[in-house]
Symmetry: C3
Subunit: 114 residues, 3 copies
């Protein structure tokens, strides 16, 4: 009744239940890249997981965005605005929080309809 | 299958799916107002969105509260306690996080049953 | 249509709706205990609430972990890894955030299937 994607010993990258997919916090690939690049990487990871779950970015219900430095808000939004589909934008909340690795500037936690 | 409220190019204020409404992070109206005033404003914004979604505060499943300064915990709770309906209080979590604008002292992210 | 566990005047410890249980942020019992002890306490509180909801740790969909000091990431993971069931690990996100009481090192917010 729960489907998991990339189920590891510590966490799964996504859990699907009852028509909703809960993604793990997605983080950048390139340590120390600028905020736009890191945000694009995070959004690409989200796209890939949503595709595996049979969903896509037009079906995101909520995105919780954590920025290591809230001063990166505008830079994050440049990458976000280029990615999101107008008319299909999710509910969203953005706050500052130090992330698990200092090389990461952004982490995004997505909940989507399947 | 997803209904959106105030769907903008960047985000929607709420997404409704499968009997659940996911609100965007709600923020205060009055820059620099004290924590009780700002919390009341945030709760009023939540009330308004829940009404648009066909829900209300007695049907909130979880509230994630972000305070720019955790020292405002008691002040936030004074406004919260006056607002919440005993017997219908949601699950809740409160942590400190810097918000997108320094004039904001509180942001609340609500998930509710429709 | 919403079942609540430990419904108090300010918050409930859990709300169950439509096959999903939304837990309140769970916090440690022992002020000032080390991160592994506090994490074990939080996970025990989660186990107890999930049992009351008719769920268990193998049915967690997502865990949002807040650490007062991200330097406790490895210590938190030692307790987490000993607790989580391989093959049934949830989606997870971990960030740093100051918590409501300075004696708390960790708070975890769980969403699970019932």
């Amino acid at each position: 009744m729960i489907q998991r994607i990339d189920a590891g010993p510590r966490m799964s990258e996504a859990c699907i239940h009852n028509g909703v997919v809960y993604l793990a916090g997605q983080v950048p690939e390139t340590d120390g890249a600028d905020i736009e690049t890191q945000t694009r990487e995070v959004l690409a990871a989200i796209d890939a997981l949503l595709a595996q779950a049979g969903s896509d970015k037009r079906r995101i219900l909520r995105a919780q965005i954590f920025l290591a430095d809230i001063a990166d808000f505008d830079g994050m939004n440049r990458a976000w605005d280029a990615w999101v589909e107008p008319g299909h934008a999710p509910a969203r909340a953005t706050v500052e929080a130090k992330l698990a690795r200092p090389e990461w500037k952004v982490e995004i936690v997505v909940t989507a309809a399947v």
